[in-house]
C-alpha cells in the first residue's frame, strides 16, 4: 500500500478514547482532541482557531431544539405538570413502568416511521411527562411502608431516556423522506449505484422490528426488577 493517506490525524481519536476512559472532563477532552487533530494535520494554531470558530458559528442551530422549549416546560413544571402526570398514572392500576414505556416505545417508533419525529424528545416529553410517569408507576408497586430506592429510581429515569432514543432512531430510518435515506442515496449515487429510497426504507424494517422486540424485552426485565425490589427490598436484588 503506497498511498498518501496521512494517518497522524488518528491521534485525535486516540485523545477522545483516552479522555473518556480516564474520565476527564468531556469539554476538555473535546478541546484537547481539536488541538491534537489540528496539529497532526499540520494546521497552524491560528488556522485551528479559525476552523473551530467557523464551525462553532455554523453549528449553532444544534442546541436550539433543546433550548427553545425550556421556558414553557419550566413554567409547567412550576405549576405541577410532573405531579399531575404522576397522579394520573397512579390511578391506572394495570400500568407498570415496563408496560408504560413499551407503549411509549411503540408510539414513538411508529410516529417517527411516519416522519413525525418531533412527537417526543427529552426536554419536552421525557423530563416533564414520561420519566415522572414511569417513576410513579413503579412507586405504586411499593407498599406504603417501603420506598423506591435511589439507584432504581435513577435507572428508571435512564430507561425512559433510552426508550425515547431507541424509538426515534429505529423508527425514523423507515421513513422515506428522512435525511439518512437521502444521505445514503447521495453517497451510493456518487459511487455509481442507483438505489430506490423506498427499498432502503423497506429493508430497514427487519431491524426496526428487532429493536422493538429487544428493547421491550429489556423493559420487561425492568418490571421484574421493580417487582423484586418492591417485594424484598433492594438488598434482595440480583
Amino acid at each position: 500500500m503506497h498511498t498518501a493517506v496521512n494517518l497522524w490525524p488518528l491521534l485525535g481519536i486516540a485523545v477522545v478514547v483516552a479522555g473518556f476512559l480516564l474520565r476527564a472532563h468531556p469539554v476538555m477532552v473535546v478541546i484537547a482532541a481539536c488541538g491534537v487533530t489540528g496539529l497532526a494535520a499540520a494546521f497552524s494554531p491560528v488556522h485551528i482557531l479559525e476552523s473551530l470558530g467557523a464551525a462553532f458559528l455554523k453549528t449553532r442551530n444544534l442546541p436550539l431544539i433543546l433550548l427553545l422549549p425550556l421556558a414553557a416546560i419550566g413554567l409547567l413544571e412550576r405549576a405541577g405538570l410532573k405531579e399531575h402526570a404522576q397522579a394520573s398514572i397512579a390511578r391506572i392500576r394495570s400500568a407498570t413502568t415496563g408496560r408504560l414505556l413499551i407503549v411509549y416505545l411503540f408510539v414513538r417508533e411508529l410516529a417517527a416511521a411516519f416522519g413525525l419525529t418531533s412527537l417526543g424528545g427529552h426536554p419536552n416529553m421525557v423530563r416533564p411527562l414520561v420519566a415522572p410517569m414511569a417513576e410513579a408507576a413503579a412507586e405504586a408497586r411499593f407498599a406504603p411502608g417501603s420506598k423506591l430506592g435511589d439507584p432504581l429510581r435513577h435507572h428508571i429515569r435512564a430507561m425512559s431516556a433510552a426508550t425515547d432514543n431507541v424509538g426515534l432512531f429505529f423508527g425514523e430510518d423507515v421513513f422515506v423522506a428522512f435525511g439518512a435515506i437521502v444521505l445514503m442515496q447521495t453517497i451510493l449515487r456518487a459511487e455509481g449505484l442507483e438505489v430506490d429510497p423506498l427499498h432502503m426504507a423497506l429493508w430497514g424494517i427487519p431491524t426496526a422490528v428487532s429493536a422493538f422486540v429487544i428493547h421491550s424485552w429489556n423493559l420487561h426485565r425492568l418490571d421484574r426488577r421493580i417487582m423484586r425490589e418492591a417485594l424484598y427490598g433492594s438488598g434482595a436484588a440480583k
Binding site: 453549528t59 442546541p63 421556558a71 405541577g80 397522579a87 423530563r127 445514503m184 429493508w203
Partner: protein, 321 residues
C-alpha cells in the same frame, strides 16, 4: 418570513438573561465566572456571523476552559414547595398537558400544512416559514405558542418563564454546550482527513475473504466509527465507501439497498453507546438530574449490543434479496 435568525436572537437573549441572573445571584459560589460563561455563549448567538472566525474560536476555547476548570456552577433559585405544586396540579388538571402537547402539534402543522404558505408583502411574496430550516423554525414557533399558553393557564408572566428556563439551563450546566462542541470536533475531523485514515486502516488490515467476517466487519465498523465520531452520518460514507461498496457489493454482490439500510442502523447502535452523541446520551442524563452522566448509555447497552448482533445476522441472511 419567520427565519432561524429570529430564534438565534431569542436564544441569545435567553443566555444573556441567564448570565445576568447568575451575576446577581449571591447563592451561586462562582457567580462571576458562571456569568462570563453564559455571557460568552450569548455573544455567539447575538453576534452570529458578524463575529470573525478567529474571535469565535478563541471564545469557544475560553468557554471550554471555564467549564473544564469547574468555574460554571448553578445558583440556588427559590423552588415552589412540592405541596404547592400538588395543589396547583389538582386545580389545573389536564389543562397542564395542553402547552406541552402544543410543541409537537405546532411543529407538525408548520412542517406539513404551512410548508408552502406564502405571505404577500405588496410587491413581493415570500414564504411564511424559512424553507431551509423548516422543522427547526416550526419547532421554535411551537415553543412560543406553548409559552403563551403556559403563561395563560398558569397566570405567569413570560419573565417567569425566562427564570424557569434559567433554572433548567443552570441545572444542566456545561452539558448544554457539549453537543455543540462535539459537532465542531466532527467538522474538524473531516477537515483533517480522519475519516480517510480510518477507512485506510480498516480496509488494509481486516481479511474480507469470508462472507460472515465481511458482514461483521461492516456492521461493527459502522458502530465503532459512530462511537468515535458520535454521529452515524459521519460513519456511513467512510465505512460504506471502505467496506460496503467495494467488498459487500463489489465482491459478494449484495443488494445495495439492504447493505445501506442495515449499515445505517448498525451505526445507530453505535450512537446508543457513545458519550460523543451527547445530545442523545449526556444531555438527557443532565436533564433528568442523574448523578451518573453515563447512566443513559448503560441503560442502552443491553439493547444496542444484541441489536448489533441481530444486524449482522440480518445482513448475512438478507443480502441477496
Amino acid at each position: 418570513m419567520i427565519s432561524l435568525d429570529f430564534f438565534y436572537l431569542l436564544v441569545g437573549l435567553l443566555f444573556a438573561a441567564t448570565a445576568i441572573m447568575n451575576l446577581r445571584d449571591k447563592t451561586n459560589p462562582r457567580r462571576h465566572t458562571t456569568a462570563l460563561f453564559w455571557g460568552l455563549y450569548a455573544l455567539v448567538y447575538l453576534a452570529g456571523e458578524r463575529l470573525p472566525p478567529l474571535a469565535a474560536g478563541v471564545l469557544m476555547v475560553a468557554m471550554a476552559l471555564l467549564a473544564g476548570f469547574a468555574l460554571v456552577k448553578p445558583g440556588r433559585p427559590q423552588a415552589v414547595p412540592e405541596a404547592a405544586r400538588r395543589a396547583s396540579a389538582a386545580r389545573l388538571g389536564h389543562k397542564l398537558l395542553v402547552p406541552a402537547l402544543a410543541i409537537p402539534v405546532v411543529t407538525m402543522i408548520g412542517s406539513t400544512l404551512l410548508k408552502d404558505v406564502r405571505i404577500d408583502l405588496g410587491m413581493v411574496t415570500e414564504p411564511l416559514l424559512d424553507q431551509k430550516n423548516l422543522t427547526l423554525v416550526s419547532m421554535g414557533c411551537g415553543a412560543m405558542v406553548a409559552l403563551a399558553l403556559a403563561c395563560r393557564i398558569t397566570r405567569a408572566t413570560p419573565l417567569q418563564g425566562v427564570r424557569e428556563a434559567r433554572r433548567l439551563i443552570d441545572a444542566m450546566g456545561w452539558a448544554v454546550v457539549l453537543p455543540h462542541m462535539l459537532a465542531v470536533l466532527g467538522l474538524l475531523f473531516s477537515e483533517a482527513g480522519v475519516g480517510k485514515a480510518v477507512a485506510h486502516v480498516t480496509t488494509s488490515y481486516i481479511p474480507m475473504d469470508s462472507r460472515l467476517v465481511a458482514c461483521a466487519a461492516f456492521c461493527v465498523g459502522m458502530a465503532l466509527f459512530t462511537v468515535v465520531m458520535g454521529n452515524g452520518f459521519a460513519a456511513f460514507p467512510v465505512i460504506a465507501g471502505g467496506i460496503g461498496i467495494p467488498v459487500l457489493v463489489g465482491v459478494y454482490h449484495a443488494n445495495p439497498a439492504v447493505m445501506a439500510a442495515i449499515g445505517m442502523f448498525s451505526a445507530y447502535c453505535g450512537t446508543l453507546m457513545t458519550p460523543m452523541a451527547a445530545n442523545f446520551n449526556v444531555v438527557p442524563a443532565a436533564l433528568l438530574e442523574l448523578p451518573d452522566k453515563n447512566a443513559v448509555i448503560k441503560a442502552q447497552l443491553p439493547t444496542a449490543l444484541p441489536l448489533l448482533g441481530a444486524n449482522i445476522v440480518l445482513l448475512y441472511l438478507l443480502m441477496y434479496q
